[in-house]
Subunit: 455 residues, 2 copies
């Protein structure tokens, strides 16, 4: 038994330690393509804060890198193991400690599944908005690590807006409490927000105080067909400029529509270039849909179909929620990009992505959180085909370059991880990078926390 395992055993029950290589291999990587993953020395599955502190103290003492993991549904390789590391899986710390309708807060452990929390708070008339596509498998800790988004963001914002306070185990095992449990608070630097999106590189989140909203009425959704990306982009701009705040404003291109039909036989219109879905959870959603329908028509929509009830709306949303999965079934592998541009540049982004696909002779389907300008071009390829793989990688990079050129960011909600770390430096520049590295060094002077990610 190695010294590492022996030490870990000193503060962990047997069931919390996995060393069988066949099993630990299953924890080697997240959902990203093209990201190298090493072989972990051990997978640790703690149930208590004290156990996490023991793991970090041990790691610091023995200078062993630690890779924290949630549901491993990430798309950037941020949860990938490195050789000889401790994989610290937080999935067993999955208790909802408190849901308080007066404070509109929930206190949770990091391993709580997003959808489990969403359903639990809904039972008390409350709403936890962040809803990444992986919501049935991703954890709140992972959402905090990546700064996850979803369909809700155009109205409700991203994970960062919902994290009020954190308990964090630092790299040396000390416990830090950040933020507050109150609605407001500005005492000192905002360390809470520093941890959101930090991809496990600054500390291990072991408890989070989350803000909740009252549960909104069920959405009513409208579908609008457009003959071009330019027309769909124009509609998005008109909707936002006219002062509407849809609860979702989603776009699927023709490739995506075909893929969804093929997967689920949903009867989506395959002749259209772009389908826009606009949802409203307002007191009078039919009125909002009527106004948005007129704006879509003015932007050149060829067909506008407001759902007549919640069931019809749910069907349209189901199509959107299937989009990524459907695109994944086109070829054997995908790279999912996550470029966010100003809304006014959405059409340029869509057209530019189509040009990249044509240039490299690849299928690239795009679904987008159009209301945020956040596109997910999905590059489809066969990894056994070396040339196609090379072209896929090149396309992926060209799409990010295009996003930056259009005044956007390389990642709206998926994070940097391994996949985009060279691009992070391009986006934030040398001064920002130096300060970010300084923060990393401040929190993790030995460089043990999720090494090789972000930078």
């Amino acid at each position: 038994m190695s010294r590492l395992i022996e030490r870990l055993r000193g503060g962990l029950p047997d069931e919390a330690l996995v060393t069988d290589p066949d099993v630990t291999a299953g924890y080697a990587h997240d959902h990203a393509s093209f990201c190298p993953a090493g072989t972990p020395a051990v997978v640790v599955l703690p149930r208590t804060v004290e156990q996490v502190r023991h793991v970090m103290r041990t790691a610091t003492e023995l200078r062993v890198p630690v890779v924290p993991q949630g549901g491993r549904s990430g798309l950037s390789g941020a949860a990938n193991a490195t050789d000889g590391c401790i994989v610290l899986s937080l999935v067993r710390m999955d208790r909802i400690l408190e849901i308080d309708p007066v404070e509109r807060t929930a206190v949770v452990e990091p391993g709580v599944i997003n959808a489990v929390l969403s359903r639990a708070v809904a039972e008390k008339g409350l709403y936890y908005p962040p809803d990444p596509s992986s919501w049935e498998m991703c954890t709140i800790g992972g959402n905090i690590g990546t700064g996850a988004g979803g369909l809700c963001c155009v109205k409700y914002g991203v994970t960062a807006e919902y994290v009020l306070g954190l308990d964090v185990v630092l790299t040396d095992g000390r416990l830090l409490r950040t933020g507050r449990s109150t609605a407001k608070g500005v005492a000192g630097y905002d360390l809470t927000r520093l941890f959101v999106g930090s991809e496990g590189s600054l500390g291990i989140v072991v408890r989070a105080v989350l803000a909740l909203k009252p549960h909104p009425p069920r959405q009513l959704v409208l579908a609008a067909e457009f003959p071009s990306a330019a027309a769909a982009g124009d509609a998005v701009c008109r909707i936002m400029a006219d002062g509407h705040t849809p609860a979702l404003l989603e776009l699927m291109d023709r490739t995506t529509l075909r893929a969804v039909n093929k997967l689920a036989n949903m009867g989506l219109p395959e002749s259209t270039e772009a389908l826009l879905l606009a949802g409203f959870d307002t007191p009078d959603p039919a009125a909002d849909l009527a106004a948005v329908a007129a704006l879509c028509a003015a932007a050149g929509a060829t067909e506008v179909v407001p759902a007549s009830d919640a069931a019809e709306s749910e069907l349209l949303l189901k199509a959107r929620r299937l989009a990524i999965h459907a695109l994944e079934s086109i070829r054997s592998a995908t790279m999912i990009d996550d470029v966010c541009v100003p809304r006014a540049r959405l059409a340029d982004m869509l057209e530019g992505t189509a040009a990249v696909a044509a240039k490299h002779d690849l299928v690239i389907g795009v679904c987008a959180h159009a209301g945020d300008g956040n596109t997910h071009p999905v590059v489809c390829f066969d990894p056994r085909d070396a040339d196609e793989s090379r072209r896929a990688l090149a396309s992926f990079d060209e799409i990010m370059a295009l996003g930056l050129e259009l005044g956007g960011t390389i990642t709206g909600e998926h994070g940097v991880g391994v996949l985009k770390k060279e691009w992070l430096a391009r986006e934030i520049g040398p001064v920002g990078l130096e300060l970010q590295r300084g923060i990393k060094e401040l929190f993790d002077p030995l460089g043990l926390l999720n090494p090789g990610k972000l930078f």
Copy 2:
């Protein structure tokens, strides 16, 4: 001419430099009581980013401390000069560079007055929510520095939620761009949020990208009278637990009501212990007011008066906006506290504050952003009376201690500054303090930026 002035002149026009001690004395402090203020060596009023960079390069070269200032309406001494410092007043950098209804963003310089921005965006159908009481004189740069709030926060959140990206001149004169112009973005650590609330101690904000909302309908406001703090606190809890989201939910105690009447003869009910104002900017505010009226009655309100129109509502809001000013006119000086507690502890906070006032034989009026649990106990005293001053200081501290005991924070929106720096350590503890100091050192290794504040 001192070496400092000579060097500053090298990159600044004459009109940007003020050395006359009679004039510079006017820049020595902000609006806080009991906070020491030194004598600045010079006041600099730059108009361009390049001029700010020159100031910071000069300060670094000559090791001169720099105290950044906005409208100096702060209540914690965060803008107070230190002896021999450069006061860096950003008030002349007051251009609104862009207002974009499609992106729902504004790009501004730091010296833009909050109310000026609010009116400018309103003309385009947009809304910049943060509305501190000082909104006619405070600057966006100052709002970012303190993490300012206001009446709007119960529905719309605080300044931090509206800052998407920043240009910051670092202590050595380098320019850092943080964040993004897009609706979403998670590339790297969130440096933007680190600057919000940092009280000018990490860098000089010279440009901000702010998020805007569509302009809401005008508010309809209800006033409810309560026979006790407990009943008013209960009403707040019922309103929030029942899923309402008022655009404001404010409380004034009897002392405040009397002070407002005395100042402005407004006919507010002086026999009541607490007056609650609830405002709604929803599509059907009358329906919301009716629901809230019923909840107030159930909580024991003795009188509930919904405003019948916007003019009546505006009158009620005017009373609230006068509250702090009215309390200031009771004695010759005030200390304004800013303790935020969980909503369920609001009544305890109000009763505890009354007990502190009785114990020290002082007038302490309380107005509160009740929907956030954010109370502003205003300790009234005569600074020429040494014993009364001592009791005022003791009360101020006991109120913060009570707030922490109730699970709250020492500052909901005013910041730490000089006034509460010993309390910051108590609130965040040694681990947090060490990391916060580390961040300060990373951004400002020579300790030149706003020294003696926060820590």
